[in-house]
Amino acid sequence: MSVVEQTPKPYSRDWLLSDRPTSRQQARLGRAYVIWRRFAENRLALLGLGIIILLLLVAAFADVLAPHNPVQGDLMNARLLPPGSAGYWLGTDDQGRDILSRLIHGSRLTLMVIVLVAVIAAPIGLIVGTVSGYAGGWIDAILMRITDIFLAFPKLVLALALVAALGPGIENAILAIAVTSWPPYARIARAETLTFRNSEFISAVKLMGASPFRIVLRHVMPLCLSSLIVRVTLDMAGIILTAAGLGFLGLGAQPPLPEWGAMIASGRRFILDQWWVAAMPGFAILIVSLGFNLLGDGLRDALDPKEAGQ
Amino acid sequence: MTSHPSGPLLTVDDLRVTFPTRTGEVQAVRGVSFTLGRERLGIVGESGSGKSQTGRAIMGLTPGHAKITASKLEFDGIDLLKATPKQRRDLRGKRIGMILQDPKYSLNPVMTIGKQIIETLLAHEKLSRSQARTRALEMLEAVQIRDPERVFGLYPNEVSGGMGQRVMIAMMLICGPEMLIADEPTSALDVTVQLDVLSILDKLVVERGMGLVFISHDLRLVSSFCDRVIVMYAGRIVEELPSADLAQAKHPYTQGLLNCLPTIGTDRHPLPVLERKAEWSA
């Protein structure tokens, strides 16, 4: 008689790692758990995740966390106070506004920019890439030519020109950045689609009578998602830096909104003696970008160990 | 070349190669022992039997994180385990040579063939460039490459597989090593080219009186080419015998391998299947 197997308790570690899952959910959760384990071994990746969670929390609870009003400052008494002054941990700017509060509220703007750019650029790239890869032929040729043309453009300069034409404002900045960001996602989606296009499970679905539209939407697109997510996360830092650059030039969020790039620009005038006005927002940008880079690196290593050179 | 020593060229006693992996340690080679004189020894086994790792351990080419232990690992009286990295490096190429499997991957793609051959020479001997070039051309002729001057200036991707493997042989034998380890030297080649390369190898080994370790998965090839055969399974030696006596193999795994060789004229229904017993990998 064969050895009697103990069925593991649901949601326990053994259940997740079992190589004979009894339900789709168990298989899915098991895979996610393995990926999480690989990710969690990388301490820098965990640090990145921590930073991003912190960003989300700060943005969500900005009203509660910020000690002062970010747009209305105490011009009379609190102008250009250094960090460590009573009640103003990071100092104040030339309009008497608390820099810490401005940074906290500015995180909302940063988050808004990232989310909107991702929500606009990634789906465009995904659709263009999967359609191009799946359809092939002249559709593929034309779409890829357009993608390559956009890929070859300098992103910051083009975003600059776009915002110059559209007029300054955070919505235009988001649009401009999104327009220059989608091509890499199209390339990735297309590459992934090409690897699956001729596989047997696609043929099987075709035999069942699925329309190309349904095949692309429900079968091909989900498979591209993991590479796309990694790429989007890695691009986040670049998007933040571009947005900050636009803000620095006065093309992003307009005053008195506490956009981090614009804060650096307005603090530039007093950089010699009141260095903190321009320095603090830069640290915020640095930390958040670093967080996304660490997170993206960790995700990439966890999802594809071959890349990590394991 | 040094005069022939008395006693075996290579002594291996209880060699163990262990790789640390995420799920624990994996023992690729588990207590292999044999000696080699100026003769031809074949090591046969399937993928994962540890035969390649044995060869690499002797050369000192195992990946860095692996652990190699043995109660004895000696070449011509030199204790390889106690030798410094520099001493082992001096042995490689000069006194022990190694031929790898696929010249498509084992030759440096951005260096000309001539440069790669000369490199071995200049690493071990003090020669001028022209002297080295002459030696290299001689060596190319010795492996029966008919237009050595032209091939000298070619890149590895510009020559065929058979020629590439002959270049590899030239590259590794040019300093006149006493022992050669051939790790699947013909497995990547077409059958007709295999015989050519093997005959060149045969001639050179005989001419120079070298000891040869021939690693392969092809039992018939090894038995026809070598004097002695070692059969490996799951990191252990399961049989060792002269190739002439192969038909009297005692271990069931070797017998299974022999049964897999097709013969003309006999009816073999049902086809024999290679049996694996758990106790062989214990």
């Binding site: 600059l160 010699l272 | 080419l61 065929s160």
Partner: protein, 355 residues
């Protein structure tokens, strides 16, 4: 044996020449379509987006007859595709209109300022390659060690820090507090009248003319922005070098090289790095292109009179002709470098040479 070898080799030679012809044709088509695409995008930005392109160019305080004249010049009454035709024709002849700010033709302005940006990008790339490649090799060879971690973190910070902020802080430290470097611009005013540039690369021009004091002054001006851009270049180059080297060190030819008894140093630098060298060259070219773009913000901080400062100044003054002209030039150089590096990769790699 040899007969079959030579037949195969000549067959390869013949197919190589015909595929090179096709490859050149495909390359040219790519070049043309990409440039046309760039012009189409800038045309869209300049003519289609603004409600009144003429107003966008001259500003809303210009008198009516000026606006009307510009409208005529632009041919705004013509259908769009005709406008685009004239636009492309003008761009190809270098006619980007006139700058409202300087009243010069934009092309003349650009010709004046572009060498400054190129010099900066060149210094930055040299710095980045000189330090980035060895650091990447070190990180790959000593993988997992402290050195590897440090190189990776330094690189990651380079990917995460806003360049204009770092420039600002470094200026405060090295100029305001330490007085080690010079600022602003490329030369002290004193030298602007005694020095005649030849190529526009001040370091080179002053050396060639034997003007050591000018050279030293130019050096003191370029060292900080150059090092800053160099740091960004280093982050990218070291990361890619590490990645390429890790890939190469796993290959079989490295095992064979060790079997030959070569020293580890020789294997790393002459075998692994040489193989990594071809994609590395394209990485360096792409880094240069990236620095041209990065200079836009750096020049603002350092008041470096290059193309970047020109574009941002024009931006602040709503000088659309200048902004778009600059964009086209930066874009064109960017595209050219990208395409050329692609071509370079294909021709330099012996593996891809005979296909």
């Amino acid at each position: 044996m040899t007969l079959t070898d030579t037949t195969a080799a000549t067959r390869r030679k013949r197919s190589r020449s015909s595929s090179t012809g096709k490859a050149i044709f495909r390359f040219l088509v790519t070049v043309v379509t990409t440039f046309l695409g760039l012009l189409a995008v800038t045309f869209f930005i300049g003519r289609v987006i603004p409600i009144d392109p003429a107003l966008a160019i001259v500003g809303d305080r210009a008198p009516a007859h000026v606006v009307e004249r510009v409208r005529e010049q632009l041919g705004l009454n013509l259908p769009l595709y005709q406008q685009f035709y004239f636009y492309v024709r003008d761009a190809l002849t270098g006619n980007f209109g006139t700058s409202v700010l300087t009243t010069n033709p934009v092309m003349d302005d650009i010709r004046r300022v572009f060498p400054a940006t190129m010099e900066l990008a060149t210094i930055g790339t040299i710095f980045g390659a000189l330090f980035g490649i060895p650091l990447g090799v070190l990180a790959a060879v000593k993988r997992g060690s402290i050195a590897d971690q440090i190189v990776r973190v330094v690189g990651l910070i380079g990917y995460s820090v806003p360049i204009f902020w770092l420039g600002l802080l470094s200026l405060v430290l090295f100029y305001a507090k330490l007085r080690w470097v010079a600022y602003p611009g490329r030369l002290d005013i004193v030298y602007e009248y005694t020095f005649t540039p030849i190529t526009g690369f001040f370091l080179f021009d002053s050396l060639v003319q034997g003007q050591w004091d000018v050279f030293w002054d130019a050096f003191r001006h370029i060292i900080l922005p150059g090092a800053l851009l160099g740091y960004f270049s280093l982050a990218y180059i070291s990361r890619m070098t590490r990645s390429f080297m890790l890939n190469e060190l796993q290959q079989e030819y490295i095992v064979a090289a060790r079997a030959k008894g070569l020293s580890e140093t020789r294997i790393i630098w002459f075998h692994a790095l040489r193989n990594a060298g071809v994609p590395l060259i394209t990485v360096i070219a792409l880094s240069y292109a990236g620095l041209l773009e990065g200079s836009v913000l750096t020049e603002t901080i350092f008041s470096w009179p290059g193309l970047g400062l020109y574009i941002t100044n024009s931006l602040q003054n709503a000088d659309m002709n200048a902004v778009l002209g600059g964009t086209i030039i930066v874009g064109s150089v960017f595209i050219a470098i990208n395409l050329l590096s692609d071509l370079l990769y294909r021709t330099l790699d012996p593996r891809t040479r005979s296909r």
